[in-house]
Symmetry: C2
Subunit: 747 residues, 2 copies
């Protein structure tokens, strides 16, 4: 893991601070200082414009374009991808001072500071411009409403120590670039005021926005082809303040062209102004941290890091709309095209399971809503049931690399796992009845039709790519086979649970399956080939993996990483090197299924073969290392979990934040050091504390009960704000928690 921190931001428990402008790192800062509220995401760009390196991006969840239709190659290979599109720039501001554009890439400035306050969700940027006549200071503040996600706010404070000729414009601009290429928006303006309706080219979706600028100064409305705004010209000595509020509505179906602009204008009328909305924003985040904070004493870097992670997770997704999912880069950039991956169910879901159960449920509802596309995809692959996409915004497969889209079954088994995990934590039978069972049956159907029987009567999967993408087209990948087995078994479990329910027959009939189907998946589960050797306790990653030529990954020069960029594509696959946990991944997901000795044996075998080329890899290794008592390794793998983006370990934070890694960082603390396991019948904890920490604490909500877990050098303290009893396992021993429970820390 040749990853090196590039730190230029200040350490602070509640704030992210850039002191002094770092133009060469501006695009990294834009990602880190992103704001979002699930409806939209705004990179921390300089709204007044900047001639240096910048990705000026504002993204709206679910607003996307189709890519070019490609000449069909083979059946099952998608011909057209889709991507989250850079949308309306409602923060656009242009400032001219004595006729000269403000561009801090070109000017002399001092006291630049960019601050993201995690307790209020505000981004504040201040700087002072020095010119021949005097000094002018600027403060730009922005935030998004978390309760009214269609609202955004901006404040610009300008103070001059000499009489400056000022011109400032506040625009709503659809002329935004995507991947540096001209955008595809069509725009038309509202009848009065500052409002605009934009239409995506290929999907015909609408985005409407209305804006109001509060200022006592006179202004004029201006329009260009895709921009409308207000322009102020005035002489300034002393201070003036502009407050902008905007209301933005999206119509993903492209059916509400007429009403949409009116809705935005009406919302604008009734929305509070900047100051009042800021009070509400602070209250929102205070309440959130009250329920969700992770405290770490004795490690300021990770204290800041973990709050940064939690903050971004929450603002990217919190259950605002079950039509949303969590993109690999959230709403912070264009890499991965805004697509959600199977990371959602395996890495992100736990955070919501223990902090916002209805949001967790909504993530699964997203998959239910996209069942039609998953069914279609299964047909394209000559299979039955439903095959979930590797990458998607809208339910359609968006991954044009067939080796991933056709060979990776983990999106489908991941959805089944998500339902399983959600049910273990929530005991939500209604969900199973209304959504879960149907998805499980359809996924099981897919898995049944995609699987094959070998000559010894064992079932399993040929030509698959497991989570380890460095072994491309293999047979009987243990992860795939194990997950399929567990999917079949859970489908049968849910069927037993529901079969006396009124709705059961309806679902069965709707899906057109009979007893026969359940018999088949029972047999397939029972006969699933698992390459497990009881003697060594090792799972072989796939058939023949143990016979692959061995490569000592320590011998690979640091400059060869990332291998995808530096090694011939086929070379990556010709040895026993792995990219990310595969066997270890299912030992983690189904932790309750395996004794410690199996985890230990497999960890010791596979970890030295893993190069962690996925940002999701170290956290899972850290969690397992903690469990099997490898404390130093656990800490070493944790090292950059919380600060992956803050310290730009992967050198690509400029493209956007690693949102799903951010979720893994939370898991790393709660599952790793906290020893939380939630895949069994009852929640279990086994806390330990890293040597360098004095104390840490986290909060979870488990079946309606708020539980705070506080760990010091000697003690574990569980506490709750109510008396309702909850049964947990602590270090494997069943306890009943009411308001407080203390135990010695097991070392």
């Amino acid at each position: 893991m040749a990853k090196i921190a590039t730190r230029y931001l200040e350490i602070d428990p509640w704030r992210i601070i850039e002191k002094g402008f770092h133009p060469e790192r501006n695009q990294v800062s834009e990602s880190i200082f992103s704001l979002a509220n699930e409806f939209m995401g705004v990179r921390g760009f300089l709204e007044e414009g900047f001639s240096g390196k910048s990705l000026q991006g504002i993204y709206y969840n679910g607003i996307y374009e189709w890519g070019e239709e490609e000449r069909a190659s083979y059946k099952g290979i998608i011909g057209r991808t889709h991507y989250l599109v850079n949308g309306l720039n409602w923060l656009k501001t242009r400032i001219f001072i004595d006729g000269k554009t403000l561009d801090i890439g070109q000017e002399k400035i001092r006291d630049f500071e960019r601050v993201l306050d995690l307790r209020s969700g505000t981004l504040t940027r201040s700087l002072t411009l020095i010119n021949d006549f005097g000094e002018i200071s600027f403060t730009f503040i922005r935030f998004l409403s978390m309760r009214h996600c269609n609202r955004g706010y901006q404040r610009v404070i300008i103070a001059s120590d000499y009489p400056a000729e000022m011109e400032i414009s506040f625009g709503l601009d659809f002329d935004t670039k995507h991947w540096g290429r001209p955008g595809r928006w069509q725009a038309e303006f509202g009848a009065g005021g500052i409002s605009v309706l934009g239409r995506t080219e290929s999907t015909g979706q609408f985005l409407a926005a209305a804006a109001e600028i509060q200022s006592s100064l006179p202004y004029e409305i201006y329009k260009t082809e895709k921009e409308i705004g207000a322009r102020y010209r005035f002489k300034l000595q002393g201070e003036t303040v502009f407050d902008r509020k905007v209301s933005i509505f999206a119509d993903r179906q492209g059916e509400k062209r007429e009403e949409l602009l009116l809705a935005a204008e009406a919302d604008l009328q009734k929305s509070p102004g900047f100051s009042e909305a800021l009070v509400a924003a602070k209250a929102y985040w205070e309440d959130f941290w009250q329920r969700t904070d992770v405290e770490i004493e004795g490690d300021p870097e990770n204290q800041q890091g973990i709050r940064f992670c939690i903050y971004h997770l929450q603002q990217t997704y919190h259950g605002f709309d079950p039509g949303n999912n969590i993109g690999a880069k959230g709403l912070t950039g264009e890499a991965y095209s805004g697509h959600a991956f199977w990371d959602t169910e395996t890495y992100c879901l736990p955070f919501y399971l223990f902090n916002n159960l209805s949001a967790a449920r909504d993530l699964l509802i997203f998959r239910y809503r996209t069942l039609p596309e998953a069914r279609k995809r299964a047909r394209e692959l000559d299979c039955e049931g439903a095959c979930y996409p590797i990458a998607t915004l809208n339910g359609h497969e968006a991954c044009s690399l067939w080796q991933h889209a056709s060979l990776q079954l983990q999106p489908s088994t991941g959805v089944a796992y998500g339902i399983y995990h959600y049910y273990r934590v929530s005991k939500d039978n209604e969900f199973l009845k209304d959504y879960g069972f149907e998805m499980l049956v359809e996924i099981s159907r897919f898995l049944l039709s995609r699987g094959q029987w070998n000559r010894e009567g064992k079932f399993g999967y040929y030509c698959v790519m497991g989570p380890d993408e460095f072994q491309m087209m293999v047979h009987h990948n243990s992860y795939t086979n194990y997950l399929a087995k567990r999917t079949f078994l859970f489908t049968l479990e849910v069927r037993d649970l529901l079969k006396d329910n009124d709705k059961y027959e309806q679902i069965i009939e709707k899906l057109g399956i009979g007893e026969d189907f359940f018999r088949k998946i029972k047999t397939a589960a029972a006969q699933m080939l698992l390459l497990y050797d009881p003697e060594t306790e090792l799972f072989e990653q796939h058939l023949g993996y143990f016979e692959l030529p061995h490569i000592d990954i320590g011998s690979i020069p640091v400059t060869d990483f990332p291998l995808y960029n530096n090694w011939s594509y086929d070379r990556i696959y010709r040895n026993d090197m792995i990219k990310q946990p595969d066997v270890l991944m299912f030992l983690f997901l189904f932790a309750s299924d395996f004794p410690l000795s199996v985890k230990k044996a497999n960890y010791e075998f596979y970890e030295p073969r893993c190069i962690h080329e996925s940002s999701l890899s170290p956290s899972v290794h850290s969690i397992l290392a903690a469990e099997i008592g490898k404390k130093d390794e656990a800490l070493a793998f944790f090292e950059f979990a919380t600060r992956l983006d803050l310290d730009d370990y992967n050198r690509n934070a400029e493209e956007g934040l690693h949102l799903t890694s951010i979720a893994a960082a939370w898991m790393n603390i709660v599952y790793g050091f906290g020893g939380l396991r939630s895949d069994g019948a009852c929640l279990s904890l086994a806390p330990q504390i890293p040597a360098i920490w004095k104390r840490y604490a986290f909060k979870i909500n488990y079946r309606g009960k708020n539980i705070r877990v506080e760990v010091t050098k000697d003690e574990v303290k569980l506490s709750s704000d109510d008396e309702k009893p909850a049964t947990l396992l602590l270090y494997g021993k069943e306890i009943i928690l009411r308001d407080e429970y203390r135990a010695e820390l097991r070392k």
Copy 2:
């Protein structure tokens, strides 16, 4: 093999005849009636234009365009392909009768006939137009010079039985389409006469043409953006004749813009007219058939078929320019983009080895000339030495499917095999010294660096695709390992042969190799892993192949073929079905290495698993079936070898002819029924005769001696036109052939 003949052409020993116009099959006829002379290829299109289905194509060997540069995906995956481009239409003719365009798709006609005469290389098309005023008959004749490949000829004879108002134009037109899209040619006209210079857009190559029309009628020169020509307006009652001759010069390097047009004009001046050139053409083909004919008595379909194949092979390639190779579709269409594959060395070379040794040598020189590109390609794949491309016109890899371009090593081992085969037949030491050894060393270097050692100290190849493209990314493919072993051994053989030669040290020094290298390849050859079981005598196609789920290929519905179009791409790879010979392929190529029992065992195992989705597959099966005594199967597989395109078995002859299958058809007769084997130290023959044939005969030239092999029901007769003794094996017994040798046919 769900292949059904679609016959609409007449059977004739020396001519291909379409009687009556078949508009729905016009595009198939265009392919079948193609003319070529290696320099250029002209589809048999209606030069006067046709509103129905047509691919009006004229291609010039080595004149190509680069495709779009694609966004780089991964290292070693090519970002830009290249393709043979549709070029100057020098046959363009437009005819207006009483103001109305002649378009036989729209008119009433009778007595349509299209005839390709294989003894003169002429295409003659005649038809009579019936209109309200009377009848007008047309005859169009065209041919290409085989000795002066830059020359083409056209004759148009028109006869009217009423005074018709005629307008006829003869153009040189660069405004030609490619894949139905507008072409990319730029054109400029010569100073006087009818001449034009065209330039390809991305490669900057030049093509210059000058034309002269012989007619006593007055004309005017016309020009459009990319076309120049002569137009005649006249009243016709009775007959008139127009003869056109053209001279066309190509400049592939794009360096001779100035001289090129002058060269074409000068050549035109000195070239003979239509009638004189036609006499020469007939003489050329008479001489050719004298040396190369295959006679079959008792089977008129195959008699016609085999001559059609030989004719097309000869006109596509005969050693005119060592910068040329043989595209999978020759010069007859746009499918496969004009690319040559490893078919050249494995399927086409034998025809030339025994008919035109210097052309065979030139095919290998093509690979020598493209060593720099092959070296570059090896670097792209993180390997040493030279890696030859899967598909190419210019030496660069043109295959954008990484799974083929990165995983198939058979183009490289194919070149080594070609050198081996050429040397076995020719004993051309000079060639080895000047070209062969250098290629062998570079290929061996590539193979050494691409191979890996397993844990038992055996050498071989991981992540490869053998000839059977239905097993994509496998380890220790037997074909690959065996060919690599033989490549290493032959490299060592040639090194021993040359090492006392003056030039040896030069080559060694130039290549920067030492003794060490030869030791390494010797070890690798000795330790090559061959998955051979002496008990069953089976080679396992690759590691784990025997454990793949079995599919009964007879159970696949006929409508599922071709599978590439009807099966999900990944589904094709998940069983033991094979597309084309793989183990059987190396048993055929190195026939002398293996006893009959091994061939029999493997044939019986693999043939039932093969669906022959490659047009090259049946011939190899037929040849092996003949050898192991399965006469009925040999005949069944031969069934459509010679008439694959004539009867459009694959339903895609409209895209162009299967040139390399055409070569396989020749092998099918000579190697299959003739029992020729040429990979051993000395040539061997073991003729048999298909039950339905009365007699057949073929001619080969072996080490300068012309040998005619005639086989009747009872006897094999070998004869020669000279007394020079040649040692051969006949039915495994050494014989010395002087002028004649007779033996009983072994049954």
